[in-house]
Subunit: 153 residues, 2 copies
Amino acid sequence: MHLKIKSTLLLLFLGITFYAQEYSGRGEDINKILTNIDNFSKAYVNAEYDELTLFYSTDGKIFPTGADIIVGHKAIKKQWILPKGSKMLSHKVKPEEIKIIDDYAYDYGYYQGSSRNKKGIVFTFKGKYVIVWKKTDNDWKIYLDIWKRIDDK
Amino acid sequence: MHLKIKSTLLLLFLGITFYAQEYSGRGEDINKILTNIDNFSKAYVNAEYDELTLFYSTDGKIFPTGADIIVGHKAIKKQWILPKGSKMLSHKVKPEEIKIIDDYAYDYGYYQGSSRNKKGIVFTFKGKYVIVWKKTDNDWKIYLDIWKRIDDK
């Protein structure tokens, strides 16, 4: 009985460790990145595409569906704009790890959300991502942004 | 006529700049990463899955199709093994940029290849990727590996 309790506690402990987020770097850098992650989702849901684009560095790159790597603000903005009549209902990014290395950081985790098309049909989606951040003018900008839906090849 | 030649030369110059690879870091680090990239492809084509797995750090992570993030050598090896009767015919990775930052590096670019299934049907594929490398015991290991086929969502 005593052993059984210990095993359970050990499993709980391992479980918590396994699912915890790992943030490594100065607090203000980590906080800035976490704030940018949340505000990116807000801008997306509010269809504020100019604001959304500004989360990327001017030489930022995204790796979208059905296309080569897309570079720079103008092309990135165009890529994010939803079809007319569609709306992003929710968007949430959950980092598993963020590590600051000098003026760069890597960040990976999961995202999920829901959107509605012009016919009113609601879709949910979830996936995983890797972002490389770059510190620019005392802010953190997305330099590389690649994501993959759970059902992607 | 003179102007026309100048325009052509300018276009050629821009073209070369645009398509050039950008490598930033010590030569020996860049060369080690480039060698590992090539040898990864060779191991994959030769179905040497133990060797393939050793290109990842022990805490390495891949972001495969239809699954959550996969962590560690055992799970990564299992993920890479092709179905019985299938063969990887060719695999080539072309980095667009590699940048070393302390004991880490980011690397992104394109990949392409071809495989044959057990019915003898040949498939070609191409896509884009981001890798985060980690320097470990004077070698460079893949810590994060995410790829996306051109037709992915």
